[in-house]
């Protein structure tokens, strides 16, 4: 978290070495190849490169931090409306002294953004219109006023108009020393606010009723946050542009939201993702002449989001798919083991191997399916295959698992009939599902509750804990005719 402080220390150094801060576009400086441009970027000799990079990274941090609160408060599109609404303020700021003065533009834009937020609030509370309509309305109207003013400004004969159109899509290369100072100030402000008022922001974001009952001034906190977001939007304008600022607020935070359940981690990750996206955008827009920075920053953020979306350890789509597949594979293996147990049990544990045909008949499957299943068991060390895979021998591990699944199943059936008064012919389906997920503790508790009964409702013996732990089929249990180890 102290990274931004380091950057704010770096800035005076950058300022001292800056000679050509107001170069309009990096790409126009030379006509060099992409590789040369990339080299120039990474050697950081060019002051504009340093300015652009420092700027995009700073705003990545600010937007990432504040965006986290925006996303968990479900105000994502408020950021969008705010960012479009600042445009007339930018124009007013420019008109103040007919130049691109960072402070004047900052003040104008912030005021316009807050006016927009107030307009949304007013429309929502004095008409029947819903929030989405109010947001879209304010967004487009303010933007139109801004466009009117910008086209009027462009017609003016006087004034340094260069760069005013860059506010639409952003050009990091146009970031000057003054802009960078402002960005540093806002970043520090945002970090301080988040650190000092972390508890307030957290409580009001997740449970505003509770917060109000604890005596937090939820409205003050809400509008404080809006003010900070307005600041963030305004400093991001130059690099990302009016149209795409909302992405900086939403996308890194949403990516972080997919990866963690803790707010402080989300803030941290979101700030990191914002930085990455900013650096990504600064780099790619540097590669070619006239490439805008904003869209590349957005693509960087979207890339991060897609990675989190697909591969996130907890909520990732592909991760979940793999988990689901491995779970259903496990259940299938356990069901095969159970069938093998049933086959063995039906012949009173005479012989310790089961043929593929017996397994297939028991499971009502084709021989081929049974072969695939038995191979899966062998791969997991639960069984060994003999005679070209036609005979299946359970390993001790396989026996234990098979036995405990059957045990779970039958104990649960008995429990349902005894304790929950289910009819004996209604318990099988439920037991079929729960046998795979019952834990040891629960099984023991059920067993105790059932007073160590050894027959299930259908009269089949329930394997005991010793049976499970033995690791091999018992010598033919009740009929003492065939000894253990005799094979077919």
């Amino acid at each position: 978290m102290n990274r931004p402080f380091k950057f704010s220390l770096l800035i005076p150094v950058l300022l001292a070495s800056a000679t050509n801060a107001h170069a309009a576009r990096i790409g126009e400086l030379t006509d060099s190849s992409i590789v040369e441009q990339a080299l120039r970027f990474f050697t950081f000799q060019d002051p504009t490169v340093r300015f652009a990079l420092a700027g995009t990274i700073l705003l990545g941090i600010t937007c990432g931090l504040l965006g986290s609160f925006i996303v968990v408060r479900k105000m994502a599109l408020v950021g969008d409306a705010l960012s479009h609404a600042v445009l007339p303020g930018v124009a007013f700021g420019f008109l103040w002294n007919m130049s691109k003065d960072p402070v004047a533009i900052f003040i104008g834009a912030t005021v316009a953004g807050l006016l927009g937020a107030a307009a949304v609030h007013l429309i929502r509370h004095t008409t029947r219109l819903k929030e989405d309509t109010a947001l879209g309305l304010v967004l487009a109207t303010f933007f139109a006023v801004g466009v009117c003013m910008l086209t009027m400004i462009q017609r003016l004969p006087t004034g340094n108009k260069s760069g005013i159109d860059k506010f639409l899509f952003g050009q990091a290369a146009a970031i000057g020393a003054g802009d960078l100072k402002l960005m540093a100030v806002i970043t520090v402000l945002a970090i301080l606010a988040v650190m000092l008022f972390y508890k307030e922001f957290l409580v009001t974001s997740f449970d505003s009723d509770f917060a109000r009952s604890c005596g937090f001034a939820t409205h003050v906190i809400h509008y404080g946050l809006m003010l900070l977001v307005a600041f963030a939007v305004v400093i991001a304008l130059q690099a990302v542009g009016v149209v795409l600022v909302s992405s900086m607020l939403i996308t890194p935070a949403a990516a972080a939201y997919l990866l963690t359940d803790r707010m402080h981690w989300m803030l941290f990750l979101s700030a990191i993702f914002g930085m990455l996206a900013g650096a990504f955008g600064a780099f790619f827009s540097f590669l070619g002449p006239g490439l805008p920075t904003g869209p590349f920053i957005v693509l960087g953020a979207t890339t991060v989001f897609s990675i989190a979306f697909f591969l996130g350890p907890k909520h990732g789509v592909i991760t979940r798919w793999f988990k689901q597949r491995s779970r259903s594979n496990r259940i299938q293996r356990e069901n095969t083991l159970k069938s093998i147990y049933h086959v063995l049990e039906n012949r009173s544990f005479v012989g310790e191997s089961v043929s593929l045909r017996e397994l297939a008949e028991r499971r009502r499957e084709t021989l081929e399916d049974a072969r695939i299943q038995s191979k899966a068991l062998a791969r997991h060390g639960l069984a060994t295959l003999h005679e070209d895979g036609n005979q299946i021998f359970l390993t001790p591990g396989g026996w234990q698992l098979a036995c405990s699944i059957v045990r779970n199943h039958r104990l649960w059936e008995l429990y349902l009939t005894n304790a929950a008064d289910f009819a004996a012919d209604h318990v099988h389906d439920d037991a079929e599902k729960i046998e795979h997920v019952l834990g040891d503790e629960v099984v023991r508790a059920i067993e105790r509750r059932l007073k160590y009964a050894n027959r299930d409702p259908h009269g089949k013996p329930i394997p005991s804990l010793e049976d499970v732990q033995r690791g091999a089929a018992p010598r033919a249990r009740r009929e003492d005719s065939v000894g253990y180890g005799s094979s077919i």
Binding site: D80, R128, L129, A144, C148, S247, Y257, F296, T302
Partner: protein
């Protein structure tokens, strides 16, 4: 400031556009009206279904669709542009739904992620292939309604109806016809999804059809008003209408009236201030909205103020809020 705002010359601003420059003025005003009417009719349903911001998203994300269609066909043909925009609209709708359903990201954030990404792709394509795509970045944002009438088309009564104008007119007519034909389905599924389901209306077919119509309207409005101002065209007429009436047919009639008035007033504003015509039309549309907001006879601010004057036997002032939430 005096340089910025020219003096108001009645003749030049109000009379001249309709006397000397009528041939140039009429197509622009007509185009503004057609765009506003088509968007307003679709937008009314968006507002009802609380999907105003999905409209926002689609209006941004048709851009990559158009850019890719340009790149693939190397032409500005109507058909590729429509197909590109339809595809982009459907992709956006799907993306929003996938992000929203498959993860715990809420719908608002999903909308924000989807459209900014697609719009970014569009802007990058345009700036990479600037020579091949006949669109510039500013045009994308606020359109060029002033150039709409320039291309040669059919001349009627001394006024040139350019191909774009004819296309927009047919789109508007098709939208109006579709709404007339499927009025019942739209109405029922917007107000009462459960009832719609029980009478056999497939909500997701209605939803996706509406999104397709929306994409088609947005892409045909794109050239004249750009990606962002079209949001205003979508929302303002319907919002203004619904401040003035509670009956859907009347709201839609008012939306069309709003489109016509803001088009005419916007042209005069742009003539006076010499600024972007499309943006002026939106500004005047917003002015009309503000007018309705303040003076609406049923729910305007003034009316509310008069009604909320405390009477002794009336419950306290926080009742309107409760009523509102009950309605919403």
């Amino acid at each position: 400031m005096t340089q910025l705002i020219p003096a108001f010359d009645f003749h030049q601003v109000i009379v001249a556009p309709w006397s000397q420059d009528a041939a140039g003025t009429f197509p622009i005003v007509l185009m503004g009206f057609l765009v506003g009417a088509a968007c307003g009719l679709v937008g009314t349903f968006l507002i009802l279904r609380r999907m105003a911001l999905v409209g926002d998203a689609i209006s941004h994300s048709v851009l990559p669709g158009i850019a890719i269609a340009f790149l693939l066909t190397n032409s500005r043909g109507t058909l590729p542009m429509f197909i590109g925009a339809l595809a982009a609209g459907i992709v956006t709708t799907l993306l929003i739904e996938i992000i929203h359903r498959k993860t715990r990201v809420k719908q608002d954030a999903a909308i924000g992620i989807a459209f900014t990404s697609l719009f970014a792709v569009g802007v990058i394509l345009i700036s990479l292939y600037a020579s091949k795509i006949d669109l510039d970045q500013e045009c994308v944002l606020y359109g060029e309604i002033g150039f709409i009438g320039l291309e040669e088309g059919i001349t009627l009564g001394g006024i040139n109806f350019s191909p774009q104008l004819i296309r927009m007119a047919s789109v508007t007519l098709v939208v109006a016809a579709l709404i007339l034909i499927f009025y019942k389905e739209l109405l029922v599924s917007s107000f009462d999804p459960a009832l719609a389901f029980s009478v056999g209306i497939n909500a997701s077919v209605v939803h996706y059809s509406l999104m397709c119509v929306l994409s088609a309207v947005v892409v045909s409005a794109f050239e004249s008003v750009g990606a962002i101002l079209v949001i205003a065209m979508l929302i303002l007429p319907g919002a203004t209408g619904s401040l003035l009436s509670q009956r859907l047919p009347r709201v839609m009639g008012l939306a069309v009236l709003h489109a016509a008035m803001s088009s005419v007033m916007g042209l005069h504003l742009a003539t006076w201030l010499d600024c972007s015509i499309a943006a002026s039309m939106v500004v005047m549309g917003a002015f009309l909205f503000a007018f309705a907001w303040i003076f609406s006879p049923s729910q305007g601010i003034i009316q509310r103020f008069i009604r909320s004057k405390p009477k002794l036997d009336e419950p306290p002032a926080d009742l309107p809020a409760a009523e509102k939430s009950a309605v919403g």
